[in-house]
């Protein structure tokens, strides 16, 4: 660009030339402190004064109480560390337990009511009985509950959700008894299963006689969806995607 080369004269850069205005020839960025060194471990002259802290606020004078105060602090820290060391694994274990066994979501209904859940309506009728035909007589402290469970699909999705429900008899205080499905008239295929038509499960349960009036019948609808003419791979993929928990329970009081 420029037509002519400019020539510069030589100039000394190192060691730096002493200049008259500077304090010396040193390249140190900060000047060294030229004074007598402080005594190394001089004992503190007295209690430290923190500016802004009124001394009257402190309950004890810090100098003699310093050692017990620090001991108390250490003991507190040790106790806290122990508490945390116990609490954290316990909490973690409990969370693992709860993840594997989530709490049920219980929906309670009065006797004879119809419960609608996930495209299906459920109804329960309970009959008490002292003996079953063809069985030996029952012990006097027990009673059979013959439960008739009615399910009605409200739409085609309700037909897809036709998995066998779990039935259990529960007392409000948490005790429960087995209930077994003995018979049902629910069609196996979707073609025969009609929307709006009631189908039944006959369920049998043995409970203590004294509690027969207090227990409620709890139905856990299956979240399994049976789609017909679906390939095995598709159903596996769909099941992995849906991952619906079976944690809803419909309880019918007596």
């Amino acid at each position: 660009m420029s037509g002519e080369r400019r020539a510069f004269p030589d100039r000394q850069v190192w060691p730096p030339v002493a200049r008259e205005d500077s304090g010396g020839a040193s390249t140190q960025p900060f000047p060294a402190v030229r004074s007598a060194p402080l005594p190394r471990s001089a004992p503190p002259p007295g209690p430290l004064e923190i500016p802004g802290t009124a001394r009257g606020d402190l309950p004890a004078s810090p100098a003699p109480a310093g050692r017990p105060a620090r001991t108390a602090l250490r003991v507190t820290a040790a106790v806290l560390a122990l508490a945390v060391a116990v609490a954290v694994p316990t909490w973690d274990g409990y969370m693992t337990y709860k993840d594997a066994r989530p709490d049920d979501r219980v929906h309670t209904f009065a006797a004879g009511r119809t419960a609608t859940f996930q495209h299906v309506s459920w109804k329960v009728a309970v009959e008490e009985s002292d003996g079953l035909p063809g069985d030996r007589p029952l012990e006097p402290d027990r009673r059979w509950l013959r439960i008739r469970l009615t399910r009605t699909a409200l739409d085609p999705e309700g037909v897809i959700r036709r998995g066998i429900p779990d039935v259990e008899v529960r007392h409000p205080d948490g005790r429960s008894w087995m209930a077994q499905i003995t018979e049902d008239d629910v069609p196996l295929t979707a073609a025969e299963h009609r929307v709006g038509t009631p189908y039944h499960y006959d369920v049998l349960s043995l409970v203590p006689r004294a509690l027969a009036r207090e227990v409620s019948v709890c139905v856990r609808p299956s979240s399994f969806r049976t789609i017909e003419n679906e390939s095995f791979e598709d159903s596996m993929k769909r099941t992995a995607r849906e991952s619906e928990l079976n944690d809803n329970v419909l309880c019918f009081r007596r």
Binding site: T96, R142, G174
Partner: protein
């Protein structure tokens, strides 16, 4: 010189304290729980005839018998008729159990006989499990009375204890601190010898096959 001597002693004391603490920390590891201890059961103990209530089940051992053979219904694998007889080269120990649940329905896992020598005998599979305590559901409100049957050498009877525990839930996890009931059958040397000498030839398990 006069000031450095106490400082040196203090430093030596500090080092010693540190060494002692480190040794104590290493030694304390020998008291640490093993994996088995962590996942092991919680045991409730009792004697013959006592009701032992664990967290999930209550169990009572009501009687102890010995027999040379057990007559029972069909075992699940066989298709022969009723009255099948199980025999042994040792002896059958029959413990009459009564069990109930504390809250929710339970099933009893095959019980274990714990001997004085520390050996564990599982309940025999020569009899139909449905006729023993493992068969029915145990529910709140009434006692289920069924036997547990063990096949053991007669010499192992003295000092034997029975261990009863509920089946694990289907939570998919191995449960730590699961409950179990351990009942001392009260068999000293003399009682064990008497039990063997008075053993019945055939003991019949009650119940529908």
């Amino acid at each position: 010189m006069a000031r450095s001597a106490p400082g040196r002693w203090r430093r030596l004391g500090g080092l010693l304290t540190g060494a002692v603490l480190a040794t104590a920390a290493v030694a304390a590891q020998s008291f640490a729980f093993s994996r088995d201890d962590y996942s092991g059961p919680l045991t409730w103990t009792g004697g013959l005839g006592e009701t032992v209530t664990a967290s999930r089940i209550s169990v009572r051992a009501e009687g102890v018998h010995a027999a040379r053979a057990i007559e029972a219904g069909t075992s699940p694998g066989t298709s022969s008729g009723t009255g099948q007889r199980a025999t042994t080269k040792g002896i059958f120990l029959v413990v009459d159990l009564a069990a109930t649940s504390t809250r929710v329905p339970q099933r009893i896992a095959p019980p274990v006989l714990l001997t004085e020598s520390g050996r564990r005998y599982a309940a025999t599979d020569k009899v139909n499990g449905d006729l023993t305590i493992t068969g029915p559901f145990i529910q709140w409100g009434w006692w289920v009375r069924k036997a547990a049957v063990f096949e053991v050498p007669p010499a192992e009877l003295a000092g034997a204890r029975i261990v009863v525990h509920p089946q694990e839930g289907n939570g998919g996890l191995i449960e730590p601190s699961a409950p179990e009931v351990e009942i001392d059958l009260g068999l000293d040397e003399a009682a064990a010898a008497r039990l063997v000498s008075t053993a019945k030839d055939v003991h019949t398990l009650a119940g529908k096959p």
